[in-house]
């Protein structure tokens, strides 16, 4: 509770959290108040009107509808990738750091291997190999599986620092199993780091999806913010000066990631007393 109070004192956190919560609310409740339709409702790249505030796309579909759907997809893919990456990274990091020795060496080697393999290239290769059935979920899973190394590194360092603390020795003397030591005596101490890393993983997931979709390897089953940009790129909307084809989607992605970065940065200030004023 005290932590939440401290966080709420930070304007950066409040702005970030409000921004993120409002995008979340828009994505979830938007379709309730606004009639989302994926049907053709007018001419190709129809300009914004009072009825269709952000104009129409290449196929004559309403951009507000597309953005609502896309925002939902981006949030889904970001959270999915974030959960997967943070879970794998935390498991690898917390166990490796705690065990040390050969186990740690092997896990560290594995982590470093994934660090040096450019994850975006892997993402492109895997996405490209799926000619059919490339779903949003699949993209989220691939992003999660290729970007967990940050979490692993951050968590490993924390876990290794904690393992020689007295309360861990005492937990062992209480007969606690390794699993219990990790979950009860280490995880709570590093939870703030894990949460911060999770936020970063979510934002990187959103950006990765947008990037992979932009180059045409995005999900085939739904609209995402990236696929909107991809369409704008493919149809030459950028060159023709049709701003409503790319600016709204770009702004939404930017705001989303910006909100997450604000949350992350403000949390660092609150969790790390040295950065507190």
């Amino acid at each position: 509770m005290k932590l939440l109070k401290n966080l709420l004192k930070s304007p950066m956190f409040v702005i970030g959290a409000l921004l993120f919560l409002s995008t979340l609310l828009i994505a979830l409740l938007g379709p309730v108040f606004y009639k989302v339709t994926m049907e053709r409702v007018g001419a190709q790249y129809g300009a914004p009107t009072a009825q269709f505030l952000l104009g129409l796309d290449d196929l004559g579909r309403d951009y507000v509808s597309l953005l609502l759907r896309g925002l939902r997809s981006s949030l889904f893919v970001g959270l999915l990738a974030g959960v997967i990456a943070t879970t794998i990274g935390t498991l690898v990091g917390i166990y490796g750091g705690f065990r040390g020795g050969v186990v740690d060496d092997v896990l560290n080697m594995l982590t470093n291997l994934f660090v040096v393999i450019p994850s975006f290239v892997v993402l492109i290769l895997i996405s490209a190999s799926f000619k059919e059935g490339r779903s949003l979920t699949l993209i989220g899973v691939i992003i999660g599986m290729t970007t967990w190394t940050w979490s692993a590194r951050a968590v490993r360092a924390q876990s290794a620092a904690l393992k020689s603390k007295d309360h861990i020795s005492l937990a062992k003397l209480n007969g606690d199993s390794t699993l219990r030591v990790l979950l009860v005596h280490i995880l709570p101490y590093i939870f703030s780091y894990v949460f911060m890393v999770f936020i970063l993983q979510v934002s990187s997931g959103i950006l990765s999806e947008a990037a992979i979709s932009m180059i045409g390897l995005g999900p085939l089953d739904t609209v995402s913010l990236g696929t909107i940009l991809n369409q704008a790129k493919n149809t030459g909307a950028l060159g023709d000066g049709i701003w409503w084809a790319f600016i709204p989607a770009t702004v939404v992605i930017t705001l989303l990631v910006f909100a997450l970065y604000l949350i992350n940065t403000s949390m660092e200030g609150v969790f790390n007393p040295r950065l507190r004023k």
Binding site: S169, L170, N174, D176
Partner: protein, 260 residues
């Protein structure tokens, strides 16, 4: 029972690191600890006394030499920790900040194969708290950061009263508390020895303090036990230069008492 040997170390060593960076924290030590005695391990910072303590607990393993408890090498730690327990120097770092003191005292029962009934566990925690002069209501619902250093050190001792082990390894339990609490802690250690006939390994840098509480003194320096014997022998007729140094470092008033 008095002369049964509990711990026996023969040429034990514990090294850290590899190659040129190797550090011999404990270097070729040989000693035994008998049932029911209080042995003090005395030495300056970094002399290896804490590592030796952790070896006795089975938290560190000897890299060479033979180390036995009741004549057997320590293999099953769950069994070992039912008999050998510890208190550490910094009580705040010993408790998990996220759980109440009481729940953590209770979790000490985890070491038993079969836990006693909930009623008995609660009762033993209450008794243990009373043994260190703390009313159970004083710590009810309290977290470690809500208590003072002296209270926390007593909580560590209460944990020992809960578990009633055969051997207690006390790693500098008095170095972070004020003089008044220190006297209390020593009283509780004596109580543990007398009432529960516990064997105590008392680790300290203060040879004056060790002199009062121990049956035997082990002086450690640079990972080796350089001298061992009865407190009077070691303090009156020190054989090594380092022991002389330790004795000289005692404040004057202490020395007056020792001479008496």
């Amino acid at each position: 029972m008095q002369n049964d040997i509990l711990f026996e170390a023969k040429n034990c060593a514990c090294k850290f690191g590899h190659g040129k960076k190797v550090v011999k924290a404990v270097d070729d030590v040989t000693f035994d600890i008998k049932d029911g005695e209080i042995v003090s391990l005395v030495g300056g910072s970094g002399c290896g006394k804490s590592v030796l303590a952790k070896m006795m607990l089975g938290l560190h393993h000897p890299t060479s030499g033979a180390f036995t408890y009741k004549g057997e090498p320590i293999t099953d730690y769950q069994v070992h920790w039912r008999e050998v327990q510890a208190v550490f120097q910094d009580p705040f770092s010993c408790f998990n900040q996220f759980f109440t003191i009481r729940s953590q005292l209770k979790s000490a029962f985890g070491i038993y194969k079969e836990k006693p009934s909930n009623f008995e566990m609660e009762d033993r925690v209450d008794q243990a708290l009373l043994a260190v002069n703390v009313k159970p209501s004083e710590v009810e619902g309290k977290y470690p950061f809500e208590l003072s250093g002296g209270q926390m050190q007593r909580m560590l001792l209460a944990r020992i009263f809960v578990l009633r082990p055969k051997v207690l390894i006390a790693d500098e339990p008095t170095s972070m508390v004020d003089a008044c609490v220190r006297a209390n802690i020593l009283d509780y250690l004596m109580k543990l020895k007398e009432e529960l006939s516990m064997t105590i390994v008392f680790i300290t840098h203060d040879i004056g303090l060790a002199y009062y509480v121990s049956d035997r003194l082990f002086i450690m320096h640079k990972g080796k036990i350089i001298e061992q014997g009865a407190p009077d022998d070691v303090t009156q007729r020190p054989k090594s230069e380092h022991t002389v140094q330790l004795l000289e470092d005692i404040p004057e008033i202490h020395k007056e008492w020792i001479k008496r």
